[in-house]
Symmetry: C2
Subunit: 351 residues, 2 copies
DNA sequence: CTGTTAGCGCATTCAG
DNA sequence: CTGAATGCGCTAACAG
């Protein structure tokens, strides 16, 4: 029973629709749609009239209606453990930037690494009909989640994770990064190198361990299993394990911190125990942060371009969304190179 | 020309709709809608039948259609300069958390502090019909933007920004934080204290300056205008101005870094110039980061709860979205308290 | 080149 | 308590 008689030009009213524009320009709905979508087949005069009407009424397309009609939301989802993690934060920034450039909204969701929560959020995102998904699952082997993502038809690009042969992904070359780090330490004469990193249930944990092993094998040197701490990527884990390592009868002479949140924890532990870097122990961290650069001494790190990773992930996703899944049934993978940045946290070691 | 003849129960087909469920349960559309929305007025038996049909068909509500129908998207937008900034990153995390808890999607957009871009993004978000907006404009005085946000009917909550009397906002108490910092330095005997912070076009710049002035006034002490560097919050600005300050004929004996990205830049400059903290200059930073805690020496900072700020912002927004703007025409403001955390970057000063 | 028409999937009247 | 009908705003197919 509301005023349907909008023949009057009351520009104060809430929602202007295409219908209003059509009336104002004395054309039909279809014509307005055509000029809005830049169809070439509209006579210049009519086009001008419609454009004027659009300006006059202040009409803006209703994206929801468009989504309804086209079955496409122009939105991509991004589901990861914690967007505060500088690693993910930079990635998010890069990905959001390219998504935006292509007209896509960017829906962010944090799983906190809780698998139940993650599955819930995944469902929610799919329910929202996102056109594509950037995803860093907390556990690559969780059966429920694998089933879920296999059963969906929405393009998914994994970030720092992989389901081989099943899913596009973009990852950094952690294997090589840790390989280089270990090789460097080995070349400095270290023979008792500890590795602290995450479990093998996600790719970074596996790859870092692999690189570590490879470097030792290449040098023909053994690994002391007691020096391996492979359970978590948290700062707290770094704190705890560094303490534990430095309390050993024969402590390591070098530690690789395989997780970018770990350095803070490690530094706290080192300070607490009065351990000097690099005199008492050499340190290499993964992830090149302000803290690493400005700590005393500055910490040698493995670095790679996080924003670029985000941009690449978004680009692969957009490409997949275009190419209608028919061709290129091959999965598309991108590996971001890592490099080691040498600072003053490692010293030569003579046994 | 696709198969419209979905009379067959082919469960592999793409989009299950309420209509399919209705058919499977031999009820009408309306009834399915009622059980989906938990309307009490459905006979238990029928309800059970429908629920079974939902499970069998795997139906999930189409959020887009719901939005279309209800003119509500269950989405909130978040527009800020840079989500990588740890300050905003934490805020985003907190806000996303409560938005999600209330069933809202969280659409993130970064303006990079570019005002044109920001206006563009603001329009885009509104066009997407977000139900509410968390916003940290790059310039509180830009006329176009003010007009834009005044003309919209979407609830907006400003974060670390304000349009007095016009908009809800949640901010941290930077005035008090810097007041305390300056007061502390003054009590230590410092008489030449520099302040590096952002311009007065956004609230943090104004408030920090205000606190700085208040502290000096309360002590009956003058401020040397040459010690005021009030143009930017960037790390690069911190780098540049610290160098400039320490090159003065009579350099300051203490510097307040009024921006949470600034410490890294300042530390670089100090290292470069071989200035010792706190022997040569005392330092207080805003924003309590790992870097501040773990630098040598550890840096005294002004801290506040960022995630809590985000959670509060989201809560105020949700409240505003509920209370249909009629009542509480008063704007709702929340101020997050700050505290100073004393570390070893400040020393007593005798002139 | 332009007008008309038919839904997209759902929530919500209004009858029965 | 349940079924039928209507329309949210738009795009695309089809006529003219």
């Amino acid at each position: 029973m509301k005023s349907k008689s909008n023949t009057r030009s009351t520009p104060s009213k809430t929602n202007v629709t295409m219908r209003d524009v059509a009336a104002a320009a004395s054309v039909s709905l279809g014509t307005v749609s055509r000029v809005a979508n830049k169809h070439p087949s509209v006579k210049p005069l009519v086009r001008a009239r419609v454009e004027a009407a659009i300006a006059a009424t202040g009409w803006q397309p209703n994206v929801v209606a468009q989504s309804m009609r086209t079955a496409t939301t122009k939105a991509i989802g991004c589901l990861l453990p914690d967007s505060r993690n500088p690693l993910f934060a930079a990635m998010v920034k890069g990905a959001e930037e390219v998504a935006r450039r292509y007209g896509y909204a960017f829906i962010l969701a944090n799983s906190n690494g809780e698998i139940e929560h993650e599955i819930e959020l995944l469902k929610l995102l799919l329910q929202r009909r996102v056109d594509g998904l950037l995803f860093a699952p907390s556990d690559e082997y969780d059966a429920r989640m694998i089933r879920l993502i296999e059963s969906t038809h929405v393009p998914i690009v994994l970030v720092e994770r992989e389901f081989p042969e099943k899913c596009d992904h973009v990852v950094s070359n952690q294997c090589n990064g840790i390989h280089q780090a270990a090789e460097y330490l080995l070349s400095l004469g270290h023979r008792r190198i500890a590795l602290i990193t995450g479990a093998s249930s996600i790719r970074p944990g596996r790859e870092r361990f692999k690189g570590f092993v490879q470097a030792h094998e290449a040098a023909g040197l053994p690994i002391d299993q007691k020096l391996l701490r492979l359970d978590s990527l948290d700062a707290a884990y770094g704190y705890q394990e560094v303490q534990s390592l430095m309390s050993m009868e024969t402590p390591p002479t070098a530690i690789i911190l395989g997780g970018n949140m770990m350095l803070a924890g490690a530094l706290r532990a080192l300070t607490l125990k009065g351990v000097q870097v690099p005199q008492d122990v050499s340190i290499i961290a993964v992830g090149d942060t302000d803290l690493a650069e400005l700590a005393s001494p500055p910490i040698t790190t493995v670095r790679w371009d996080l924003e670029d990773m985000g941009r690449n992930a978004a680009q692969v996703l957009l490409a997949r969304m275009q190419g209608s899944a028919l061709k290129s049934s091959q999965t598309h993978c991108i590996t971001i190179p890592t490099e080691i940045v040498l600072r003053r946290s490692c010293r030569a070691q003579r046994d």
